[in-house]
């Protein structure tokens, strides 16, 4: 599904790997090693060289925004541009059910973003990304600010997306989480990306 060949950018060596539909690959490595740089380069948020293809189509063949709708990057601390939560969704009413599944209050759609906790923002940013129905989700520590119950709920939600055929790259500092959610793993160290066997 997602093919990455010799992807490089300043601070990140050439990286080559594949992620199939319905597959979750964990991305591990120390802080500052280049994990976020890798995901941002795949999403074409920063200039990079090399080939990135989705279902055989090179990203250069389609516009940047169209690529990012299909290959969606979720930052560890995502930004907010409107006053209330619902303004950030295409159809908040359709997402309210998923919000409750992630232990978010049912009426959070009308809440001002400035009053949200870090954990609430993190779960809402995930829902906002999922709502766009990407083919590939690039998750940058999506449960870093969550308690165990919310973390499990996020993992279950992503599990459903995997079952439906979404490909996922998941940056996690938690070894146990990587083992739970992913079938393969990439390690990023000092900008070098390599695949580790036997996850």
């Amino acid at each position: 599904m997602l093919e990455v060949e010799n992807l490089s950018r300043p601070g990140l060596g050439p990286a080559s790997f594949r992620v199939e539909a319905g597959e979750c690959v964990a991305v591990r490595g120390p802080s500052g090693a280049g994990k976020s740089l890798l995901l941002r380069a795949i999403a074409d948020l920063d200039p990079s060289s090399g080939r990135v293809m989705l279902d055989g189509v090179a990203r250069e063949a389609i516009s940047g925004p169209a690529w990012r709708r299909r290959v969606l990057y979720l930052a560890a601390e995502s930004g907010w541009w409107g006053e209330t939560v619902a303004e950030h969704f295409q159809d908040w009413a359709a997402c309210a059910g998923s919000a409750e599944r992630l232990y978010l209050p049912g009426d959070i759609g009308g809440a001002p973003v400035s009053r949200l906790s870090t954990g609430e923002r993190q779960r809402l940013a995930l829902l906002r990304a999922v709502e766009r129905r990407p083919a590939v989700l690039l998750l940058d520590e999506p449960t870093a600010a969550l308690d165990a119950a919310a973390r499990d709920a996020v993992e279950a939600l992503v599990g459903d997306l995997l079952a439906a055929g979404t490909a996922v790259l998941w940056v996690s500092h938690d070894e146990a989480q990587a083992a739970r959610v992913a079938s393969r793993r990439l390690v990023v160290e000092a900008g070098r990306v390599r695949e580790v066997e036997g996850a």
Partner: protein
Amino acid sequence: MSGYIHLDYPDLAIAGLLVVANAALSIALQLGLARRIVVAAVRMVVQLSLVGLVLKVLFATVSPLWTGLAAMAMVLFAGQEILARQDRRFLGWWGYGLGTGSMLTAAGLVTVFGLTTQLRPDPWYHPQYAIPLLGMVLGNTMTGISLGLHTLTSGVVEQRAAIEARLALGDPVRAAMLPMVRKALKNAVMPIVNTMGTTGLVALPGMMTGQILGGVDPGEAVRYQILIMFLISGGTAAGAVAAVMGGVRRLTDPRGRLRLDRLGPKRGA
């Protein structure tokens, strides 16, 4: 209304005593401003005297070449001033070129428009009309472009997470940058809009009062002032739109990415 009252150097010297009094007050109150007050006052006197000499020569020659060179020098100085007012500058020649180019285009077009269609001096570039008109349009256009670019470049850095969140969701650059563009253009044109709204009530514009002091009929002076205000607001809006849109183009790329690597670091931080 009749004539105009001639000023001699002793008249100026008497008025200058007020600046001396300011400096003395500063020394007495230990404000530490005396030196700056005196330096600023001396600069003002020297600069204005030089401008007076230059204008005398220009008016005597009525040369398109010298008038054009004087206008170009004004634009280049104003471009430097725009650059100096930016906390974060575009790297490379864009830093100076974007503000100066936008200002040259907007102020130049508006000034030529005013000279050729409303004022119609003979010849149309007569420095007695062209230089003061350009000066007034340029001063305001410069302020508008400075404010617009400053708001844009500092705003995109502050709002980076929000802008990139939208880009990452697949929104086009236009949608992601729209709030920033609105804010930058609003800040750019607000001073001239506010000035238009209060002119005549709170303040009498310098040019109009100058003409009245020079013996011109108030009705005539008011018509001149209205013309100038229209030209200034047109120049400011056009220059700010050109600079802000050019800035957005430079801060993004054809792949719809935010390119903050094209901005320099914050100065004086």
